[in-house]
Structures are given as C-alpha cells and as structure tokens.
Symmetry: C2
C-alpha cells in the first residue's frame, strides 16, 4: 500500500472508485472484493434487521464547494474535497450500550503497525472511554485470516508508550483482544466477541 490517499478515505474505496471510472459502474465493483469493511457492513445490516443493534458506518466527510442543478429534481456535486475524519468510522447502540470503533487490516503476520491510527482517532476513543462508552478497534491480520476486537484501552496504551515501538506485537493483540469466530451469518459476528469481552470485564469486577 504505497499509494497516497487523502486522510479519512479508505484505500478500498479509492481503488473501487478508480476502477469504477473505468467500468462506469461503481456498485458492481464495491461488491466484488469482500474485505473487512464489507463484512462489517453485512454484520451491521444483520444486527439491524434482527433488532440486535443499531450500528452504522459514518459517511465519508467531505467539503462541498460546487453543486449543479441539471434539472429541478437533481443536484450534482461537481466540486468537493475529502476532509480529515475527526472520529472513528463506526458508532451505534447495542443493548443500551454506546459502541464506537474503527476497523483496520494488515498483511503483516507478526505485528500491527501503529501508523494505521491517527492522533485524532486516539483522542476520540479516549473521550469515549471517559464518557463510559465501549470503544475498540477491529484488527484483521489478513495473512493469518484472523480478526480481533481489541479494546481501546490497550490500543491507547501502546500508542502512548514511550518505548519507541511503532507497532503492536501480534501476540499482544491475540492475548488482550477477542478473536472473532467465523460463522455463516453474519460472517463477522463481532458483537459476539464484544459480549465475551464485556462478560470478562463483569467477572473481573
């Protein structure tokens, strides 16, 4: 991943858009690559349809500069720019609990590079913890085909550690995170891993 993308914009989307420009059908393309984001969206749709949770991906933040009105019923944005996201990508409500998270993947097998996260995301997750919310990241090791719910507390501790390390060892994530077991529907039932985490917390208290 050496291509430069604007902040707050997911590489998968950029790729899909560039490809869509060639194919002129963005929708057929976004369905092709079933990546982490697609699986989270699928899980959220499943949770919503079954009244299990109300969790949505936030729209990509942009600044709109020009809008044309080719006809009365239509508005076409002709100039806009990507903004830096000031929060995480997902939030919502699960059985009375406020849920807030971001999702990242790496091909690295031994550690997760911290450069995947930005200062403002860490600050946001800190604020969520202060206000009593459930904050975490979903980290996927694509080469290992393993995804974890990794608590924000642990992530922030690594991010703020003054040991000069720029990544979190895989072993740490496997130990402190909660493996998302694969299943049929939804494929990525991450709230089950959240349940295990919260049950562990209750037992510790």
């Amino acid at each position: 991943m050496t291509v430069q993308y604007p902040k707050g914009f997911q590489p998968r989307q950029a790729k899909a858009i560039v490809q869509a420009k060639q194919k002129t059908d963005i929708k057929s393309f976004s369905k092709r690559g079933i990546g982490l984001e697609d699986e989270i969206n699928e899980a959220n749709a499943y949770y919503l349809a079954n009244n299990l949770a109300v969790i949505h991906k936030k729209p990509t933040p942009i600044t709109i500069v020009k809008v044309d009105y080719p006809n009365r019923a239509m508005a076409k944005i002709t100039e806009a720019y990507f903004n830096k996201a000031s929060t995480t990508d997902y939030n919502g409500l699960y059985q009375g609990k406020y849920i807030d998270f971001d999702a990242k993947e790496t091909r690295n097998k031994t550690n997760f590079p911290l450069k995947n996260f930005h200062e403002h995301q860490m600050l946001h997750l800190k604020r969520i913890l202060i206000q009593g919310g459930v904050g975490f990241v979903i980290i996927r090791f694509t080469s290992l085909d393993e995804s974890y719910v990794y608590p924000a507390e642990a992530l922030i501790a690594h991010y703020e550690a003054k040991d000069g390390k720029k990544s979190i060892p895989y072993a740490d994530i496997a130990r402190d995170g909660f493996l998302i077991e694969k299943q049929l529907q939804p494929a990525l039932d991450y709230l089950r891993a959240v349940d295990v985490w919260l049950e562990n917390l209750d037992n510790k208290e």
Copy 2:
C-alpha cells in the same frame, strides 16, 4: 420553504452552497446565519471541549462517482450525488447514555408540520428506543424563539396516529417537550433539557 432540495440535504446547506458559488467562499457564509444547526454544533463543541459529552453531526451521505487527482497529494471529487439519509443527523455519548436526535425548525406558531420528518427517520428512532437509547428531536419555533427537546416516543405517536392530522399542535410540544433555556455558553444547552427529561423519567419510575 418551497424550493426542492435533495433528500437528506439541509436547506441551510443548500442555501449556503448556492451563495458560496457566488461568493466562492463557503466558510465565511456558513458562519453568517446562526441557525439551529450552528447552535447545536456550537453546543457539541462546548460539550466536547469540557468532557461533558461526545456528540457529532454526521457527514452528509453522498455517492462518489468520479475523483480526479490534480497532483499526488490532492484528491478532487468531480462527480457525486446526495443520498437519502437513513438515520438522524446527530448521535453520540453522554454520561454512558447513547444519544440520538434530529433538529428541525418551523416558522409556524401554532403547530409543527409532520412533513418535516420521513418514514426512515421514524423507523430509526424506534430502533433506538428498542435498544435502550435516548432518542428525541430538537424542535424550534423560530417565530416564538422557543426550542424544545421533544421525546421520540411522543413524536412517533403523532406520526403514526390515524387521525389524519399532519402536524403536532404547539401546545402538545410545549406540554410533552422540555424547553431549552437560553444561556450564554453554550447558547443552546440542549443537554440540560435532556437532564430535566431524564430526571422526570426517574421520578416517575
């Protein structure tokens, strides 16, 4: 308000954008008119800075079709369209509670027209209530200079009533809603009205 706007797009934004096309500076314009949305944004910034709550306005949902890269560091969206919003405009976390709301204003003095709300927003607020969240709308009567936190339960009851009425009487909103008292900072301290509401609920139980 007879102009046709795309769904999910706020008239104030449209006005600002059209004006910005003439003035070529969207930012100076959006600061000019201090409307309901600006006051909510100001309150949210105040809550965030003082660790009182983490509540954000969601970005306007759009579908991006074309992106140009005039240079390596820049991405310019040259074709995009507005999507219908499937949720409310604001959500977040307040002292462990999930908060979810929309904001609407009317110049009408005697009632609030229900056409300001859409089916999908009602469905979303219903889901929030099922999952134990705090759902409401902030309704401003601009001519009366009064703003209320109006619980989602009451709004949904009016929306689903089969009495053929297409508006909520002002008296109902003043009775079942919680007036947002004006103050200096933030000007629209809507969470204080939410506090009064939740205290009332606790006393009833």
